[in-house]
Assembly symmetry: C3
């Protein structure tokens, strides 16, 4: 998720972390990501829980223990390893000064959480599709190959393109038939956190995964806030359940930052419902809406993201620990069986002595 680390490196790191929990936890600061039960009273501030009164409460405790065990199991499984992650940065091929991205749409099986396989439509076998990252003014060519059974089309949501590159069948172009290839080409007109997705039978096709991030850095790099990490955070809620970047808790990926780091999160909602994103422990400073700077940044801890919206926020990682980070529509995040769906964590690592 960081700029300095490639997605593959990150995922390798996280997979290793999930395999060799000890190594991962060594890097966590006060508490454990990975669900290791935290010893209470560590900081000297919290008194340990007094033991429950034995006889009367016993059956309740047994039922409670059973429920707690499910909750604990989920937490311990986090971050759970799944076969492949989406939103991997795609390096363009440079052809005569044009940045060329090749995207193939096809049906796949997608693992949203360990053992949870769903039918998906994907670009380059990923949900979300590969992350495209270009600069304002770049000449860009997207070659879309349709290996689906349905026609499709690609819309660049947020980009103010010439009309014939807008990707809306029967308004700006014919649909891209099964087996066909369509090339979109344009000079990138405006900076910001944008998206690409299908605009044909879209409730179905986007719901099943034909979507990705299209990030445009401004022409003048100095215009960007300086950050240590730049994270794309795509929300979805279709047939795949409640997901962050195509994964459900415990298979979601934690954000891991060092204390003092400043991170940028680019929320994008590709679903059908609002998702008010709540970060524990630190606030979020809103800096942009749909790729446009807000007139004055504003602070919050719970940011409501509606379908089609993008919101960019800055988090100053000042508070060490492992912090829950989830949609605050609680049934999108927790059931009697424990946390699931739209849950991840921000791990702020203190200096390691």
């Amino acid at each position: 998720m960081s700029k300095s680390m490639s997605r593959d490196e990150e995922l390798t790191t996280l997979a290793e972390a999930a395999t060799s929990r000890r190594a991962f936890l060594r890097n966590a600061s006060l508490t454990a990501v990975g669900g290791a039960l935290v010893a209470c009273g560590k900081s000297g501030e919290a008194a340990p829980a007094t033991p429950p009164a034995a006889p009367a409460a016993a059956p309740a405790v047994n039922a409670a223990d059973a429920m707690d065990a499910m909750h604990e199991k989920g937490m311990k499984a986090f971050p759970a390893k799944t076969a492949i992650h989406g939103n991997q940065l795609l390096a363009p091929k440079l052809v005569g000064g044009v940045k060329v991205f090749e995207l193939t749409a096809r049906e796949i099986q997608w693992e949203t959480a360990p053992g949870q396989k769903v039918s998906a439509l994907a670009y380059n076998d990923q949900v979300p599709g590969p992350q495209l990252r270009v600069r304002e003014g770049d000449r860009v060519r997207i070659v879309l190959k349709n290996e689906l059974k349905q026609s499709t089309a690609m819309h660049f949501h947020g980009l103010e393109l010439p009309n014939d590159q807008d990707g809306v069948p029967y308004i700006t172009e014919p649909p891209v038939k099964p087996g066909a290839t369509r090339t979109y080409e344009f000079t990138v007109p405006n900076a910001g956190s944008h998206m690409y997705h299908s605009h044909h039978n879209s409730a179905y096709q986007v719901g099943l995964g034909l979507l990705g991030a299209f990030i445009v850095e401004p022409r003048e790099a100095g215009k960007e806030p300086k950050v240590d990490q730049d994270i794309v955070f795509i929300l979805n809620d279709g047939a795949h359940g409640y997901t962050f970047n195509g994964k459900s808790f415990p298979a979601t990926v934690p954000i891991v930052a060092k204390k003092g780091e400043r991170i940028r999160i680019r929320y994008m909602n590709e679903g059908m419902m609002i998702h008010p994103m709540h970060l524990h422990g630190m606030h979020q400073t809103v800096i942009a809406k749909d790729g446009w700077d807000v007139p004055a940044p504003w602070k919050c801890d719970t940011l409501n993201i509606a379908p089609g919206e993008r919101w960019d926020v800055i988090v100053n990682c000042t508070n060490p620990g492992t912090w829950a980070f989830h949609c605050h529509i609680l049934p999108h995040a927790e059931s009697e069986h424990g946390m699931f769906g739209m849950v991840t964590a921000l791990v702020v690592q203190d200096k390691i002595v």
Copy 2:
């Protein structure tokens, strides 16, 4: 929808356009509103789609073709002619310096799209009811005649009226019984994009159509942003389906603007759900919330409108073409059968040479 053209003239124009598609398309710039399939490669930027590989893909193409044909049919039908449109500007009668509007509530059959007739409750046989447009400080009288089988009442949503003109049965007045007439009268206190609607059994009565726009121009005309068109855009999602100004795609009305025009859109949500309104090709600049200027205008391409809210935006029509304009909760806009519901278009016409 424009200020310079009356609603009737506009509708006549659009109806003619739907009848004589050629005439309408002549005015569209790069692309076609009305669903005419756009020849690809027009701008020299898009490569034509390569023909699909014949044998393996053939059955898929057949199924895809069948689906595409439904999508194309819907697009070609746009803008589809229906019997009558709502939101027609109602000229007041001037009686001793008072602007008098007469509104009769009655049951009607309403055509949301060609052949789709629904039971409606309507003011003056329109859904939305007639657009009332007055100036701050005007003395206004609304004569409400109830020809429904239920009692009703009229609330002026957003106007800061004397309490006894607020239209809430058993709080500020008795309900208006079937057959009865009630007169509301007040001096218009505050400018902005407001609404009038039933406030009795309102989930039912507003859901079925007892609603309309109440636009108040500021006392000092210089306070308004100068625009070439001023458009009321009422969202609803009740028993009539997903509608813009009482119509479902393809019977919704496109906004047609000349390149360089500046248009104002006044969104009003009279439904039960949020609708994040996404415009393709150009951004929206938010200037007012519920009739109150925002402290600093801000930009977006997807604006979330919640029930009861009004948001005013400016669109600078800089980008020629026919642009999809829809709710980004995709199941409100598209199904396997094609686009429907909350979809329209902004047509930006380039100079005709």
Copy 3:
């Protein structure tokens, strides 16, 4: 609800009002809270409704009358007396300079409206739990006793606490088992309108009532806007129906202000749905989001509150009368049987001569 009156005094006042309607109405200005039918034409501005035409409309009038009678009955019952109200200010015990709050979670029966008893989980037998009100920099200890059949945990939503006080089982602490007690202790880090609630099996536990307001006054009192009343307004929509501070209309509590008063409302959404809060007769000026001042206050009459969000607004009570104040998702506020759920009133009392 006011600062100058304790919650108990207020509730006593309101209960007396409900019992002795006459006494209460004497204090209302132009109109009646309590549903007394307002005589029309009082202000000389409204013409009385003309009597309905007799023969044709008669059966409709009968059906309408039956419906109206239900609506009237609901209005007349407002504010309806229920056994106990939640959100009562809890005075801390001072122990060695630490403000100590004791909260016991247990199952109760809760009366959301007269005769409507629901199963609830409650802190100190109230829904919402007691209101905690402290100052930035205070040392605070919360002693949570779990008398539920399930484990639980307490999260302080919006407070930027040390990680081990964050209350998330298996991330920052073990769950608090049935019969056990957990002590949270911290120095209050940031001001604003915050919340405390369960963070274990939370969709269930918060939905059933384990929630409350945690108000933090700023270190420098001069930083706060000066107001005559400071009102906590918690929205919920779980198994208890649509509630304001744990009560459904007509058992909700009206806000009663004198003309010229300035009131602060702290909205908090503990539910699963948005609730766009619409005030009649006067606008709301938004001053803070999640406890953080907005860069520039902005005005509205309908404010959309998403789950987990807090919004602080100021209302200048300039317009005398009894004003409907409700969620504008109409099915959350009215049915054919009359108003219910998310409805209350703001009563602005004119000078009593």
